[in-house]
Amino acid sequence: MLKEISFTINGKKETMTINAGETLLEVLRERLHLTGAKKGCEVGECGACAVLVDGTAINSCIYLAVWADGREIVSIEGIAKGGLPSKLQEAFIAEGAIQCGYCTPGFVISATSMVESGKCYSKEDVKQGLAGHLCRCTGYQNIIRAVMKTLEQ
């Protein structure tokens, strides 16, 4: 079954006809060639596919593309502005919060929603906020440090 959807992706309006069974992740990767969001577990466990929908981090592998209709989507490609990394991305680099890099887009997405919320976060809050992301290179300490550093700025 085909459905027409319109949404904003990283500030750009898109209208397209999709299959009702397609996920937002598939639309991003295969139709829009935005391959920053990663296909990991495909069942909402690992967070590698996270994107922001109206400012909230969701797992795009278990988010039907039809649900994106009328929404504002931000993927990792939309985080850097004018070719410059965000403060959070700079902190990830400075703190060595990246090893293989597969989980990184997801972590940056969830951490960006925290940074942009303007709320105060303790280290424990940051851990809980990132609990939906798996890093198998065991880089959690550096990731948490990078997020704390950005929040403190």
Binding site: N19, A20, G44, I58, N59, I62, S110, G132
Partner: protein, 295 residues
């Protein structure tokens, strides 16, 4: 790509009920965090979906004039965990909501889906059992209300009739006012895990030193979530002290129907029930303003 042959978005509850009665083959989708995973694992053939996501009237959390708290079935765990009415009136449910999954899952998953899937490990269930939640169900024939204890029939089986939708979860004031409560989820990981055991304890005291009412809801302690009625009956009128609490923990095990699974053995689960009932109740007593006599 999920095997979805047909997808319809209902705009109102009436429209959803109409659609459901005219096409009994429709499957309901809300947050999708269980259904899409079943589809991914090939547990369902090609499906026709009816989405409730746009129905605003099912997304309301409110306190009614009589003091009862209504939670729309489409409320997400994030909304429930962060809602001031839930946090102030029934904080045990906020606690349970925040124990489920991780942030991205809590932003999508709905309480209605958690209940209607009928899984014994549903994080919302022990708290809702302890709160004597009433479920409101609507179909073309009208509305009916049923206690949550009667809704669960077996593992993955609930009393949801053909053409019926869960619309609201109702907590009446006599089931939460002046109660203290605590939910403990025991799992191998602190997030993104299924409970090995879930214990929800609530209590109301006579003064600060005697139990008025005690309620204990368990998850993953049997084929459905359940209440420990023997322990609850034992507690009434007893002194709030270490011995009573220890005895309540022991008796709670008698109501359980634990079994061995790859997550934990029957014996281990029973040990957890005894220990965690005591711990949850201890916190619940403090939150109800009680003082425990350990002398």
């Amino acid at each position: 790509m999920y095997p979805i042959a047909d997808y319809t978005e209902a705009r109102t509850l009436e429209e959803a009920i109409e659609q459901l009665s005219s096409n009994p083959g429709l499957l309901i989708i809300a947050g999708g965090t269980d259904l899409l995973i079943k589809l991914y694992h090939g547990k369902l053939d090609t499906v026709q979906l009816l989405s409730l996501r746009q129905i605003k009237s099912l997304q309301i959390i409110t306190e009614n004039g009589d003091g009862s708290i209504s939670i729309g079935s489409l409320s997400t765990f994030k909304e429930i965990g962060g809602h001031p009415i839930v946090q102030q009136g029934i904080p045990i449910l906020a606690e349970a909501a925040m124990a489920m999954g991780g942030p991205q899952i809590r932003s999508m998953a709905t309480i209605g889906g958690n209940i209607c899937n009928g899984i014994p490990s549903a994080d919302s269930a022990p708290a809702l059992f302890a709160l004597n939640a009433i479920l409101k169900l609507q179909s073309k024939e009208g509305e009916r209300a049923i206690p949550i204890q009667e809704f669960y029939r077996g593992p993955g089986q609930v009393d949801l009739k053909q053409g019926e939708l869960l619309t609201e979860i109702l907590i009446t004031p006599d089931n939460y006012q002046h109660f203290g409560g605590c939910y403990i989820k025991f799992s191998m990981r602190k997030a993104m895990d299924i409970a090995t055991l879930g214990v929800a304890a609530t209590c109301k005291l006579n003064g600060t030193a005697r139990f008025g009412q005690v309620r204990i809801g368990l998850g993953v302690a049997g084929p459905t979530p359940l209440r420990c009625t023997l322990a609850e009956e034992y507690a009434v009128g007893k002194a709030v002290n270490g011995l009573t609490i220890a005895e309540i923990g022991k008796i709670a095990v008698q109501s359980a129907k634990s079994r061995t699974s790859w997550r934990a053995s029957k014996e281990y689960r029973e040990h957890l029930i005894e220990e965690l009932t005591q711990r949850a109740l201890t916190t619940a007593i403090t939150r109800a303003g009680g003082v425990i006599d350990y002398a």
